[in-house]
């Protein structure tokens, strides 16, 4: 089935990513429609669009998450496609289906793709079938019967982790260290899953103690062609939220990562996958374990852009326009190393949100430095949405050069009026273990504990 061509794109998102998508559309000669809530009315990127429409009041539930308002805005503006960005309605299969039913193009995967990967158990089953290595544990939901869950846990070996099928991104999971804790953990996770995701299906996996988070970026045209665009390491996380990412993931033999990449490509072809996607893995002792697939453009896509030289958002839009992939796998090369720091409006010690007016906004520059942000001096960071206000991205011929540029750029950067996590980034990128590379997903949290501990001592507490 051919998809309707379009010349005008409605950007159903806000902030930094709305501007990123707007830039990609303009570079391709596509017209843009930006929709905004009353809280984002004065944001500078709104004025850059060919057309701007207010879709509702500040709360996301009444603006960026209001499917009817978005479809009406598309209809009223004559847009032929909707780009969901990330977050909000990006991985909502019902919305993707409604967009297509309205005769518009959803710039993303098919509703079926989103549904298949949204249910973590069905995703795991599909990955096992496609030969993608998964975390040890059954590819089906746990029985309500305690004895059978107990037998499963013994078979896997403690510690195990219990997860909600409808969860993901760190939500709805519980680690069980020993059998005595199992019964309580099962009923708690089941109850949480029912309340948070509307379905009480849970499943069990081996809990890995010190893994790295390594992910593979894929691009597929939905016509049977797919590519993998290299790896990223997103291990520095706090409460399952990524803080700093790099590409490529270091310390992995080229043939090992190429084999994982090829398996992800095979899975995309098997699924009839369309658009951008990310296969997330835990990597421990050299082995890879699939955890979930994100069916969207990701926050950290720029590090892949820096090392491959591709405009990933443009590639995503080309697929949506129905163009077959013209690139082949051997065209994808990776040059140098890239880092991305997520700059958040939050207290660097307590992580309390810090919305408000930015009084000073001084951005770094120089070779290999890129800033993706919608903010500026005088901009009022609204309290209604996510705290990310900018992404600092750097590239260098080697990891060492990129790291030096990163530290320098962080030092140059000044944001006043609100609190940001800049001081945290500045000291983290100078940590000897981070500089060596390959830290695990728990490293940042233990590093923070230590940093806070030594600060308390200094203050005589």
């Amino acid at each position: 089935m051919s998809r309707p061509a379009f010349t005008k794109v409605l950007i159903a998102n806000r902030g930094e990513i709305a501007l990123r998508i707007l830039r990609a559309c303009k570079s391709m000669g596509l017209e843009t429609v930006v929709v905004y809530s009353q809280a984002d009315r004065d944001a500078a990127y709104v004025a850059l669009a060919d057309q701007a429409l207010c879709i509702g009041p500040a709360p996301a539930s009444r603006s960026y998450l209001d499917q009817t308002a978005l479809l009406l805005a598309a209809k009223a503006s004559g847009a032929g496609a909707i780009h969901p960005g990330f977050g909000f309605l990006t991985e909502n299969a019902e919305f993707a289906a409604r967009v297509e039913q309205a005769g518009l193009v959803f710039i993303g995967p098919t509703p079926d793709n989103i549904r298949d990967m949204g249910d973590k158990i069905s995703a795991k089953r599909l990955m096992i079938e496609a030969g993608v290595p998964c975390v040890p544990g059954p590819d089906h939901a746990l029985d309500a019967d305690y004895d059978s869950s107990c037998a499963t846990a013994r078979l896997i070996g403690y510690p195990v982790i219990i997860k909600a099928a409808g969860g993901g991104g760190g939500k709805g999971m519980r680690i069980v260290a020993q059998e005595a804790e199992l019964k309580g953990a099962l009923s708690l996770t089941r109850e949480e899953a029912r309340r948070a995701f509307g379905a009480s299906d849970i499943y069990m996996e081996k809990y890995l103690a010190h893994p790295r988070h390594v992910e593979i970026q894929v691009l597929a045209d939905g016509k049977g062609q797919a590519l993998w665009l290299g790896s990223r390491d997103c291990s520095p996380q706090r409460r399952h939220q990524k803080m700093l990412e790099e590409a490529p993931a270091i310390g992995i033999a080229p043939d090992v990562i190429a084999e994982i990449g090829a398996r992800c490509v095979a899975a995309c072809e098997r699924l009839g996958y369309r658009g951008l996607g990310t296969f997330e893995f835990l990597m421990e002792d050299g082995a890879f374990f699939f955890i979930e697939m994100n069916t969207r453009l990701q926050v950290e896509h720029p590090v892949t852009e820096m090392v491959t030289g591709l405009d990933i958002v443009e590639q995503q839009i080309r697929v949506a326009l129905g163009e077959p992939l013209t690139l082949v796998q051997s065209d994808i090369t990776q040059s140098g190393h890239a880092f991305e720091c997520r700059i958040n409006a939050e207290d660097p010690e307590t992580f309390a949100p810090s919305p408000g007016v930015i009084t000073t906004w001084q951005m770094p520059g120089g070779p290999g430095v890129r800033i993706d942000s919608h903010a500026c001096a005088g901009y009022r960071v609204p309290p209604h949405y996510d705290s990310m206000i900018a992404k600092l991205i750097v590239h260098g011929d080697t990891r060492e050069i990129a790291l030096r540029r990163l530290a320098l750029a962080l030092d140059e950067m000044v944001i006043d009026g609100i609190k940001t996590n800049l001081p945290l980034h500045r000291s983290f990128v100078r940590d000897p273990q981070f500089i060596t590379g390959g830290v695990d997903i728990h490293f940042l949290e233990s590093w923070l504990k230590q940093a806070n501990g030594s600060r308390d001592q200094q203050h005589g507490a």
Binding site: S77, A352, P353, P383, Y385
Partner: protein, 131 residues
């Protein structure tokens, strides 16, 4: 229904005093609602006068959105005239998906509530007073 029609309807409603309008055309229904000014129960001036009579002001610890109820269907945390103990929850200030509870720093009677539910408040902005 095209953009010009919608704009014309918005303009005509802006020129009237109607709080709400609805119109239908074919399969379309368009409902226009006027954003009402927040339903503050007492003016800031009245409150500052009250404050001089020994009452305690409750201010917002951060820039965020005020929630006067624990959830949309629940009754409000406190109402005017209600007795509160130290530490009693008064309201919640939401910022970037983090919910911060504002509690009573002293026992007393809720004298005034000067902000409306869902309103944006600045750091240090007056929320309530306890007599």
């Amino acid at each position: 229904m095209d953009l010009d029609t919608i704009k014309a309807l918005i303009d005509s409603m802006a020129g009237s005093s109607r709080p709400e309008a609805e119109c239908r055309e074919g399969a379309w229904t368009l409902k226009l609602t006027r954003a009402l000014p927040p339903s503050a129960t007492q003016s800031q001036a009245e409150l500052s006068e009250a404050a001089q009579h020994g009452s305690v002001k409750v201010t917002s610890p951060l820039y965020g959105i005020v929630h006067l109820q624990p959830s949309p269907d629940a009754p409000p945390f406190v109402e005017i005239g209600q007795q509160v103990a130290i530490g009693a929850p008064l309201c919640v200030i939401e910022a970037m998906k983090v919910f911060n509870h504002v509690t009573a720093e002293r026992a007393g009677t809720i004298e005034a509530i000067v902000i409306g539910n869902g309103e944006e408040v600045d750091v240090g902005q007056l929320l309530m007073s306890i007599a």
